[in-house]
Amino acid sequence: MAAGTIVIKKPRRTAADQSFVVEIVKGLGVTFKHFFKGLNQMRPGGVRPDVTKFNYEEGIATLQYPEEKKPYARRFRGVHRLTLRPNGDVRCTACLMCSTACPAQCIWIKPAEYPVGHASRGHERFPEEFVIDELRCIFCGYCVEACPVDAIRMDTGIHMTALDDRGSFIFDKKKLMSHVSQDGDQLTANSRPEPGDAEHSGITRLKGH
């Protein structure tokens, strides 16, 4: 035999190997280990891994949909919401930037002005009507990007599923204002004081410059 040659002995099957009984029992052991572990996690009061960490944590990966739902990532573009000012007014200034940017042309806004004597008169312009056709919407998020005042957002985490009829997909201002973000927030992050607001710096000429 030449130098460096390794001789491997042919493995021999024992009677236990030949019958497969031991291996079957071992395999079933693994199966039942996971089965009982899962059963323990599934029972009322059982502790289960975080559903958002399925891929990284041990434990059961089954979700009882639709009773249980996996929350969406924070950047998920869900159904729109209209943010509010601290006083509950809609933050939107009806500038029509979103409806201009919308490639699906699903946003329709009727701008208006609060009448003289109205408590919100200082906000110069507001949407009298704000309608989004969610059937036509392609959820691209351009409206959110176009908005100069953080008035429209898609962070509700609601995904659009089938509703009873087509009319239900036409969301009006009241419905859009009622939506909350995944954090339960309704206020805008951009509540700039405007002329007429109590916190506005006021008219310069009245201060006697």
């Binding site: 200034t93 201009t100 042309q105 208006a112 312009r125 100069p148 005042v149």
Partner: protein
């Protein structure tokens, strides 16, 4: 014609003309705010500064300035030429003017622009001027640097009501005084003035006055920024959603040239804007003319009616043709409100049926010496020319002679007499656009809905005898069809074929009668902003 050089381009000018005006006529724009071709020179915005090279026998007027030297990290003394306002500087033969090619001019414009925007609220998203604002245009072309001032800008009153049509925002105002000059020079009534100075300037209405009269909307039209807004267009939409169509005002016999701005998505007109025409309206229009776009959607007749019952338009045309074809004497009433083409077809029917012609229209209103003609009808001259006569009997004459006619075909619902009760019992076909109280509709048996001027191509002949074409700005709404088409169908079904099947054929026949409007130049569908050089037709 003498010429001067602007950025190497030869510009012809008339004696006494300013540099900016001569350039404007050639379609070359020198950036400006306060200058307007139809107003006097104020030279207060300093945006139109240009560099003028000294004549051969003169020294250049130089200014000592300090310039930042990046290497020395200090200011060094330097010289630069004194710039001149192009709006005030009279052009001279052989003058060499540098506008776009001068670095000093570019720097001056940039700095002027920065000063104008110092206290500007930058509320472009809610500003109605946004999209056709000179501050935006020149920011992009001349400045394009971020704001350097960190202090709170001045705050001034917003949404001040100047009068029934105009709302003023003092924060957006750049004090160019164009609106004040419009009041003084065009309207001839100094209703506006300015108070305070420096940062605190404001436009105000004259004490005890408000902005009123027939030309208030011209103050908004000349405003280069969003300071003045009309209560009609304010907060209605955005200018970039509108498309301008070349049109002629249907408000009176002056025939002011204008743009009809319409939103195709809603098939509605939102505003009118004057279209420059030195021979007719120069740069202006009256308030009633500016509001004629409302005729597109207000009180429209959109469905056909037979004896007060709603019917299909085709059925009404069939009924109308039986009336026109039946015996007993037919009177055809032309309309001074309707276009030449429509009157041409009506005249053809009258000729074929052997009918007598009458002329109707709106009653006269208060004219003035500026633009408003006492005759409210845009096409009286055109209707007479289409009939080929000097004058036509009126509706009052028709009422007097009513016994000789059993059937009447009326173009347009307007009647210049109060009561048409005597005509009850006649078979009356009315081609109507609007629901009005005292009109032909009160005696109509058959009503056919027809297009208003903005829904069809056509021609008006104004009081001066100028034929002016206008284009279709909108699709006809409801079951409306163009009047010439309705008339041609009635004639064909009544057995009096006029031979007209296309508008071009009617136009050719009108041209043969000497009514031919100069062709409209093809212009950008997007509306040009206020005061931009544009074809003066």
């Amino acid at each position: 014609m003498p010429t001067f050089k602007l950025d190497g381009k030869e510009i012809a000018f008339e004696k006494g003309e300013t540099i900016i005006k001569a350039a404007y006529k050639q379609g070359v724009e020198i950036p400006h705010y306060c200058w307007h071709p139809g107003l006097s020179v104020a030279a207060n915005c300093r945006m139109c500064l240009v560099e003028i090279e000294p004549a051969a026998n003169q020294r250049a007027m130089m200014l000592d300035v300090l310039v930042w030297d990046a290497q020395k990290k200090d200011y060094v003394v330097s010289k630069k030429p004194k710039l001149q306002p192009a709006c005030q500087m009279a052009a001279a033969e052989g003058m060499v003017v540098k506008s776009e090619t001068s670095e000093h001019v570019a720097l001056a414009r940039k700095n002027v622009q920065e000063f104008l925007l110092l206290n500007h609220p930058v509320d472009c998203p809610i500003c109605d001027q946004s999209g056709e604002c000179k501050l935006q245009d020149y920011y992009m072309s001349e400045q394009a640097t971020p704001k350097r001032m960190r202090d709170e800008p001045n705050h001034k009153p917003k949404g001040q009501v100047f009068g029934p049509t105009i709302v003023y925002d003092a924060e957006r105002c750049i004090a160019c005084t164009r609106c004040i000059r419009v009041c003084e020079e065009v309207i001839g009534d100094p209703m506006l003035d300015m108070r305070e100075r420096g940062n605190l300037y404001e436009i105000i209405t004259s004490p005890g006055r408000q902005l009123e009269g027939h030309y208030t909307m011209m103050t908004e039209w000349v405003c280069p920024v969003g300071a003045l807004t009309t209560s009609h267009w304010r907060h209605k939409g955005r200018v970039w959603l509108l498309k301008g169509t070349q049109s002629v005002c249907p408000g009176c016999a002056t025939g002011c040239n204008m743009w009809v701005d319409a939103d195709a998505r809603e098939n509605t007109a939102f505003r009118n804007r004057p279209r420059d025409n030195e021979a007719v309206n120069q740069y202006w229009m009256c308030d009633d003319g500016m509001l004629t776009y409302e005729r597109v959607y207000k009180h429209r007749v959109t469905t056909a009616k037979i004896d007060g019952e709603r019917e299909a338009t085709a059925k009404a045309i069939e009924e109308a043709s039986t009336i026109v074809a039946s015996k007993g004497g037919l009177a055809v009433v032309l309309s001074a409100q309707r276009s030449v083409e429509e009157n041409m077809v009506a005249v053809a029917i009258a000729k074929a049926a052997g009918a007598d012609l009458y002329l109707t229209g709106k009653a006269s209103w208060d004219g003035d010496k500026i633009l408003r003609n006492a005759d409210q009808n845009p096409n009286r001259a055109g209707a007479l020319k289409a009939a080929g006569v000097e004058s036509l009997p009126s509706v009052a004459d028709l009422v007097k002679k009513s016994s000789s006619y059993a059937n009447i075909l009326v173009l347009g619902e307007d009647a210049d007499v109060e009561d048409l009760g005597d005509l009850k019992g006649k078979k009356v076909v009315v081609l109507a656009t609007h629901e009005t109280s005292s009109s032909w509709l009160s005696v109509a048996n058959v009503v056919i809905p027809i297009a208003v001027w903005a829904e069809t191509d056509g021609t008006f002949v104004n009081a001066k005898g100028m034929a002016q074409a206008f284009k279709r700005a909108l699709a006809p709404r409801g079951e409306v069809i163009p009047a010439w088409e309705a008339l041609a169908k009635i004639a064909r079904q009544a057995g009096h074929d006029t031979g007209y099947t296309k508008l071009a054929e009617v136009r050719a026949a009108a041209a043969a009668k000497g009514i031919e409007a100069p062709a409209l130049k093809k212009q950008d569908g997007v509306a040009p902003a206020t005061g931009t050089p544009q074809s003066t037709v």
